[in-house]
Subunit: 802 residues, 2 copies
């Protein structure tokens, strides 16, 4: 049983994918409605495909370019293997595949939800949530399958499927990092491009359609309306999917890397504990695999019975499924942790900064379980905090509503303050999560707390993707002029979807932040540096630069939306002028032209943010080399940069997402009417107009720049991880285990030099056998010397060698 645990996660992932396929077939078998409904839906479907076509064309070039760069790294760095390129390409491909599947099912479920809503609310929920489930299981299943599959492959290729030593496992995991890098790179394009796409289409369609031509929103005569609806799927479905796909893979990978260091800390061989001697490495994969099955169980619990159910019942049904699956993950974690980790207490190196660098503590397996609990609880609480700051009827949103009565300026100030103040509890929770999970089980604990939190990704994504499907369903009902009760039913689903969208964003940030921390820890261990000391001026300087990048990235994303929207406006104007009969409904608008423009603009506009994301860490790694900086210092500088990006990125993500979400719901509050200064105020009032202004400012915040922060911080840390072998010397064995007879003097500034000293006293004299091992460009030279004399003399000679 124990030996085959390596295959279990892959098997569970395949079960998840089979269930997904069954669910997909069930959704596709549902009635897709008639004439107009089908027509609108197929336009959205075609538009989404047009986006994917254009995106993949461009991304192919990127993947080729990045592969060449990786080949160069593999050529110059002996510990980086060419197989990293294969892993990278498959990571990119799987991420794209997951996005593709999600988009397809979302654009097929929407019209079927509308059709179901004509007769039954429970069935409409089943279909829309079923579409979300397909998306969620596709993402999670592919993530676990890809990661596990490549691990098995590399474990067999590099180590012959048997434990050898931690150095070789490091090569396995470094090569596996390519898969994660590929996934996250595609996520960058999907999230940022998707964010620019959806807001460019949204603003462009509104400006020309509603304002200039005077036709209603979602009118099929507007050439940009399909792009707008496609955009919802591109941003909220595919973008979120790629984001979580990347987080899932990166989290598990980081935990595996840190698991390998536990084995190293325990002496380099724990085969006596079973599981092929790689229990701590398999554990995160096992939890991820279990999470897929648990999510399936969770989705089966999401059911309502009454056709007259209201928001509260629907929300309750989702909550039951969600909380039950989170509870099951905690239970599964308990059994997996206590079963798979060594029975004897594990030795873990806790960094102290003292002379030895590390303090070794005995950690019981149960403490690792506590760390997973920290992740599960913090993930839940952060979602709740997000819901509080962005939820309808809650104090912050009501405050923005009140401030709308005195104009747009006070509405904006209130929204900005809300976003800013919302960082307080979220960041304190992060700080506690880092602190507590580290106190329980070191950085392995941090990584596993992230893994446990991410285990329910399939369920989270199902809940999250259900929102835009219901939203689209409502749009289709409106456009097809179906009876009002249909719209009422989809509105119930849509309203719940808005809440889940906000909490989903909270989940995405929390997971990205914890993932980055785990990657950060993996980076430090990969490079073999003894921490990142910000009291070194160059490291501090890079902390500043890292802090700046998310801010500049956000600025670029926001102004991109403006430029892309203007381009869309010009195209729509041209079509209105050039296509005869378009306004009468006889001429067919060229939807794909708008889709193409939105796609091209999105991909072009995201180039500069992409260059910054990828370019800065590479510059920081290679530029100082030209100036002769020591590799260890450069590794710390890059670490400082990563920390700066993570801290600042998390802050700006929370700020922008919550400000945007709060503005959105402040505007929505006017639909049901709000009490301002003792007077009921509705849509169309001046206060509502002010709220619309706030919502427009919030749009790029919450749908473009805010969510992009997740990818920025993860990708930054992943690039660092891939560069790590160039900067580090993990093969030198950093942590001295045998300290009684041999003292290892290690000059950290010249990391490639290792001096081993063995001292003894003979006839009043001190004798020292000294071995100097120099590692340069992967070649190791050893020089041995024996010094004799008084102790002071010998010490001086050894000193000189350093």
């Amino acid at each position: 049983m124990e030996a085959i645990m390596i295959y279990m996660p892959a098997v569970l992932a395949i079960i998840g994918l089979i269930f997904m396929w069954v669910k997909r077939s069930w959704v596709m078998k549902q009635d897709a409605g008639d004439g107009k409904m089908k027509d609108i839906s197929s336009h959205i479907y075609e538009g989404a495909l047009a986006f994917l076509k254009a995106e993949y064309k461009l991304l192919t070039f990127f993947v080729i370019g990045a592969s060449i760069a990786l080949a160069a790294i593999a050529y110059f760095v002996p510990t980086t293997h060419y197989l990293i390129i294969v892993a990278f390409i498959f990571g990119a491909f799987f991420s794209a595949l997951a996005g593709n599947m999600g988009m397809r099912i979302a654009t097929q479920s929407n019209v079927r939800t509308t059709q179901a809503a004509r007769t039954s609310l429970p069935k409409a929920l089943n279909i829309s949530f079923g579409g979300g489930t397909v998306m969620g299981l596709g993402v999670a299943g592919l993530a676990v399958l890809g990661l596990t599959g490549f691990f098995i492959l590399f474990f067999n290729y590099f180590m012959g499927g048997e434990w050898t030593n931690t150095e070789q496992m490091t090569i396995v995991l470094e090569t596996l990092a390519g898969f994660s890098l590929g996934a996250e790179s595609i996520a960058l394009f999907a999230r940022v491009g998707g964010g620019i796409y959806t807001k460019a289409a949204d603003v462009g369609a509104d400006l020309v359609g509603k304002v200039e031509a005077g036709i209603p929103e979602d009118d099929p005569r507007n050439p940009a309306t399909i792009a707008d609806n496609v955009g919802d799927n591109v941003g909220d479905v595919a973008g979120m999917g790629a984001d979580l796909f990347g987080s899932y893979v990166a989290t598990v990978l980081a935990a595996m890397v840190l698991g390998n260091y536990i084995i190293e800390d325990m002496g380099g061989d724990i085969t006596s504990s079973g599981f092929n001697g790689i229990g701590p490495i398999l554990l995160p994969m096992a939890i991820a695999g279990a999470g897929v099955i648990i999510s399936i169980i969770g989705t089966l619990l999401v059911r309502i019975k009454s056709n007259d159910a209201k928001e509260a019942e629907v929300q309750k049904a989702l909550n039951i499924g969600n909380w039950f699956s989170i509870f099951l993950v905690a239970v599964a974690s308990y059994f997996l942790v206590t079963w798979m980790l060594p029975k004897e207490a594990m030795t873990m190196g806790f960094f102290t900064g003292g002379e030895a660098g590390f303090e070794f503590k005995e950690i019981e397996a149960i403490r690792v379980f506590y760390a997973t609990l920290v992740g599960i609880i913090v993930g839940g609480v952060i979602s709740a905090v997000t819901e509080y700051y962005t939820g309808l009827g809650k104090k912050p949103v009501l405050g923005i509503v009140q401030n709308s009565s005195t104009g747009a300026a006070t509405n904006i100030i209130a929204g900005l303050s809300t976003g800013m103040i919302s960082t307080f509890y979220s960041i304190l929770l992060f700080a506690i999560a880092i602190w507590a999970s580290y106190a329980f089980a070191g950085f392995y604990g941090v990584a596993l707390s992230a893994s446990a939190m991410m285990a329910t990704t399939a369920m989270q994504l199902a809940i999250d993707a259900f929102g835009p499907i219901a939203d689209n369903a409502g749009g289709i009902a409106e456009m097809s002029e179906l009876p009002p009760e249909v719209r009422e039913r989809t509105d119930i689903l849509d309203s719940v979807g808005n809440t889940t969208a906000a909490t989903g964003k909270g989940f995405a940030i929390a997971s990205a932040a914890l993932t980055s921390l785990a990657l950060f820890a993996a980076y430090v261990t990969f490079t073999g540096i003894d921490g990142i000391n910000i009291f070194k001026a160059p490291v501090l300087a890079m902390l500043f630069v890292g802090g700046m990048v998310p801010v500049v990235f956000s600025a670029l994303a926001m102004s991109s939306v403006g430029r892309a929207a203007m381009q869309m406006v010009r195209e729509v104007r041209r079509q209105f002028k050039d296509i005869p009969g378009i306004m009468e409904g006889t001429g067919k608008p060229q939807y794909d032209k708008c889709v193409e423009i939105s796609t091209q603009a999105a991909l072009r506009e995201m180039l500069l943010p992409g260059v910054i994301t990828i370019g800065f860490p590479i510059l920081i790694a290679f530029l100082p080399m030209l100036f002769g900086y020591e590799k260890v210092l450069i590794a710390e500088m890059l670490g400082g940069y990563m920390a700066g990006v993570t801290v600042s990125g998390v802050l700006w993500a929370i700020f922008q997402n919550n400000a945007g979400g709060a503005w959105d719901n402040a505007k929505k509050s006017f639909e049901a009417g709000v009490m301002i200064n003792g007077e009921m105020t509705y849509k169309g009032s001046d206060a509502h107009k002010a709220a619309v202004t706030g919502d427009t400012v919030g749009d790029p915040f919450k749908d473009t720049s805010g969510p992009s922060m997740n990818i920025l911080i993860k990708l930054t840390c992943l690039i660092g991880l891939v560069i790590a072998p160039i900067l580090g010397g993990h093969t030198e064995g950093d942590i001295p285990h045998d300290s009684e007879a041999t003292a290892v003097y290690e000059n950290r500034e010249e990391h490639s030099k290792e001096i081993k000293v063995e001292m003894s006293s003979e006839n009043d004299k001190t004798v020292a056998h000294v071995e100097v091992i120099t590692t340069k460009n992967g070649e190791t030279k050893s020089e041995k010397n024996t010094f004799t004399g008084t102790e002071a003399e010998v010490k001086a000679k050894i000193e000189a060698l350093k």
Copy 2:
């Protein structure tokens, strides 16, 4: 000559203060105009005094409370002396005095500028700039006098006026830190309170006066109009003055602390180099003293001749004075550095993180001069970058103007993006400044680069305070219905003042950032920790918390403005209703009621931000102690917090100041008319209205929360510095100098334990004389042991002691 250099800065400061007094008398002798002008001016003057009265009343309680807290620290920490309380009180008093003097002269110069502008532009410039000069010299003179005076006092009190050792000098400097803490605490209230005050009065006066009562801006019938004008002085004059007073003192102090560590690195005694053996400590004071005199020379160069001069000539006159004084500081720095620093190359400890902790490099004095050049150049370039992003007619502001044509939302998005993108060059410049000045001369170089930049503070402040004086002068001209050419002349000065206000903010941020870095370095040396390692999870957690605080602080400041403005609105409404004849001009409005409300609201609203600023570092220092955390780890955690606050604070300061400045000038652009889509657009257009919305959002950004960031980061680092002796063990002599015969094993985790080992070999045996020195609550216990045996045995025994 050399021995009396300790008195020179004080003498130069007194010369500066005498010149200030002469200048003040000259300004006061100028014609203050007639009837209405005098009336309005005296209302503003009285209002300002009313503010000061209320402020000082409240601050007295704060100073008493803080003094008690300091007394508690002095009681429990043996290395903290009670005299720190005296220094603290005087620091607070001097800061308040400088603000008081500045406000008085500014509120007296404005009407005299108006009167002069009736006949002559050159004379109007002379008076308004003369008022600014008085302010600048008052701040700089008091800062240098107070700091030098207390240094002389403590040097004589603790060391008898003669060099003894670095430990005693550390006590001198720790006590002196009280002066800086006092100054910065008052600055917190002045800057934040002033910022809330000015915007509350501004918004309140506009909402009731202009909108409800329909009377023009600055109408004397509006009870809040005086509060509004007082606010300009409170925020732009007193707030900026207190800010720079605090920076000036803190920078010089930090450089002195680091100078003391140079002496320690050089063996603890450099009396052979002259200057009483404290050359590196005196140097920053000498540069500051020289800066006062140089600023006087600079101000004398600010002259225009023609009565028909335009903005360009006025700007040129200011630039000549500014650049010449900066040039003179560079020259003076060269001579002072090469004269006062030891002739032989100095030994400086550069942190490496290796076993020794420090690498010692020989640094020539000239390299310290290069570091000062870095500060001078970066200060200048950052001002230029600020001017680019906020200047009229520059691309960013023109971009916001264009985006105003499509409504308030696009204007807001463009303004936010501008503020965000403006962090790019500024932060890169900081990074370069840290890197370069450190590379030249370690953290002493960083501190001296800040000192050199701050040396022209008097000149900078003169240029900066001249703006609001000219602004007020224009308002008085308008209210007194003087001929249009008077307003035209003051408008020229006001327009130049707007530009200098923006660059002044850039200077204030740059100085605050470099000051914080120098304080950060002083903190690390005070605590004696070997750097701040963010790979320790609790330190990383505190980096996150530190990053969050400036964001939450900004949010609180912004929402405070909203609440305070609402209170003002209610009071004005009450006066309009209750005071008979107020609208006809026969009833006298109760100006001081509004002033009182604005003051009380400002001081009350800034309580929570103040509590956060002061409370967080104290919590981080003391809470983990209850959980038994090691002091050294706590010291690193607090250091991580300080770094987080500094990085995030600098980012948010630049973002908010530049966004606010850009919105302001985008709105101002409409006054002269702007070309939008090929059409000239003016005030009153829809685009202008959108720009007004942006400006209103920007108001609290640039005048309340943005500038407060400076104080937040400086005060955080100063509190850390005052807490440092509690956490650290600097008296234990951290850097082992004598390593040949005695090896100092220092267990950093238990910092209070020091183990000295002397090993020798006798008759095949190794003999070790071991002394364990334990420091606890200031008491030192020593225990001596002698171990004999094989080397391995002896080493194991020593190991066990650790």
